[in-house]
Amino acid sequence: MSRARAWLTAALAALSLAAGTARAAEVRVLSARVVAPSELRLRFSAPLPRADAENFRLTHAQAPDIPIPVSRVRLADGNRVVLTFEQRLMPAEHYRLELADPPLAHDVRPAAWALLLSVMIAAAFINNFVFTRYLGLCIFFGVSKKRDTAIGMGIVFTLVMIFTAMVSWSLDTFVLRPLQLGFFQILVFIGVVASVVQFLDTMLRKTHPVLHRKWGIYLMLITTNCIILAVPLLNAQASNGPLDSLALAIGSGAGFALALFLMSCARERLEYARVPQPFQGLPIAFALAGLFALAFMGFSGLDFFR
């Protein structure tokens, strides 16, 4: 009796051990990262049975029929594999890795938060709407004379920007595209901006009169701003998802607020400068904005996935 029991436990233990090793032998991709210029660094959960170049097939997500030739496979400890390819890989893009043995498929792409952050930084610094695309100049020059008004404008502008971008995105995705009314985009987005601003104005006046007295004046100015219209249009053109649209809106709003703040500080200092008669007022402001643009050229080509 006791012997039979011992056999049973031994058999059970062996079975579970076998199951355990079987589970350990099941290979999964733990992490995959593209390192410029042409490396793919992989980490597996178990040793690979085959590590020759024919075992791996990497394709770009947009060209699934064209495999990218592997030039070298290097094994490292900790079940790490480094693949080197014959052409450049872009760390920010989306690839698909397939293994022949064991049969596996894995999507290689950067983390979503990293992409969103890069969209935001690009909109705020690299493609700053004021200094690199020269949009939204009327508000930029009109409101940047004093720092207090510039800060107020920057905050209200960013909030309105986020609101309109989200409303425009949902209208575009759920109404215009399904009905194939893409050519109405500009008209619809202008309507969205105007009504959102009017709605905010009315609501603010009734619910927060103090806030409205302080910042209500900026709302009306924003109605006719071109950045507010450009962001929904850019989102629609690039078919951005909701998070990408939100990131672009936050980034461009913050970039405009930053430009406005820096410009207002500089212009307050210029009050004491002996600017020559012909350049006083707007001309020196334009020259100053040009010099700001020259400085912001330093951000061009910034790429955090390098």
Binding site: R147, D148, I151, F261, L262, C265, A266, E268, R269, L270, Y272, A273, R274, V275, P276, F279, I284, A287, L288, G290, L291, F292, L294, A295, F296, M297, G298, F299, S300, G301, L302, D303, F304, R306
Partner: protein, 328 residues
């Protein structure tokens, strides 16, 4: 008694406080120019007559533009205070040696006219005029500004010049190994110190820049807050790249830290402000070098930090001027 003039009163009666100093703007500017002389002379010796042409072109452009602007604005001639010479010289020292002299001249003219005189002259400009000139040249003559580098002492081998790339440019295009090969292996740090490497005219010799900076420090003309900030910021940014010492010793960091980040007009007034300003320059330089679109980012880093200076002056005010309520 009618023919003799009234005697000059022996005392001048004015309200206090009374400050007396022998320092003047002109005195300080000429000291700065003198402190730049060693590295300028080294640049001419290393890169030959093309470098001298660039220096003369930039200085002539700057001085000519200042005189012209004085005339147009019906001001006293301010050329003699040495600030235009200083701007032209600093601009030339940050240029590649094989840039055409007329490009340097145009850069000098733009630097003075749009970097300084349009704001009313010395003391009112927001951006460092020399760096405005260089950024303008980067935008206008991108090819000449990217390929105009020469191998040290090439001119003396009876060749006009041998073009090459800077260590930072090589590191950006290839890797650290290639950059080390360019400066002659891991012992190349010695060449970086004395200045036998490809680079801008006045940025190559760390030792001679330090010599000039020591003179200015001894005279009390510059303070160490901003330069230390620059080095700290850049070290912080590049310490993870594995090539921190190459980043610290090459490029225009030393020239910029001691001669541009310490500019009275375009740097913050208070010491904490200057420190933050320097750290900002260092961080931005590392950012542009490692992830940006240019191999060397110090020029743009200074301009961006200059753009922040009015805000920094508001955040870091001298104690007695501080008013109630938090600055925004």
């Amino acid at each position: 008694m009618s023919g003799t003039p009234a005697p000059r009163p022996p005392f001048v009666v004015t309200p206090g406080p009374h400050l007396r100093t022998s320092e003047s703007t002109a005195g300080i500017m000429w000291w700065v120019n003198a402190a730049l002389l060693p590295t300028t002379a080294w640049g001419v010796w290393v890169f030959g007559p093309p470098a001298l042409e660039v220096i003369l072109g930039a200085v002539a452009g700057a001085v000519g533009a200042e005189a012209l602007a004085n005339r147009l604005m019906k001001q006293r001639l301010t050329v003699k205070n040495g600030s235009a010479v200083c701007t032209g010289l600093l601009l030339a020292l940050t240029l590649p040696p094989l840039v055409p002299w007329w490009a340097a001249l145009i850069g000098g003219v733009f630097a003075i006219l749009f970097g300084k005189m349009i704001f009313g002259g010395l003391g009112y400009n927001l951006f460092n005029p020399a760096m405005i000139g260089r950024a303008f040249m980067m935008a206008s003559f991108p090819v000449a500004m990217t390929i105009g580098w020469s191998i040290p002492r090439a001119w003396y081998s009876r060749l006009e010049a041998i073009t090459t790339a800077t260590p930072l440019g090589v590191m950006r295009e290839h890797d650290l190994q290639a950059a080390l090969h360019l400066i002659g292996g891991p012992e190349g740090w010695f060449r970086l110190l004395i200045g036998l490497r490809p680079g801008s005219i006045g940025e190559v010799s760390v030792v001679l820049i330090l010599l000039g900076a020591l003179v200015l420090l001894a005279r009390g003309i510059i303070r160490l807050y901003a330069p230390l900030g620059v080095f700290f910021g850049l070290a912080l940014m590049t310490s993870f790249s594995g090539a921190a010492w190459l980043h610290m010793l090459s490029g225009g960091v030393w020239l910029a830290a001691f001669f541009m980040a310490t500019d009275y007009v375009t740097a913050p007034v208070t010491r904490p402000g200057q420190l933050v300003f320097g750290v900002l320059i260092g961080l931005l330089t590392g950012l542009i070098r490692m992830w940006g679109g240019y191999p060397e980012g110090i020029c743009f880093a200074i301009l961006i930090a200059n753009a922040m200076v009015p805000a920094l002056d508001l955040w870091f005010r001298p104690g007695r001027v501080q008013t109630a309520g938090a600055p925004s």
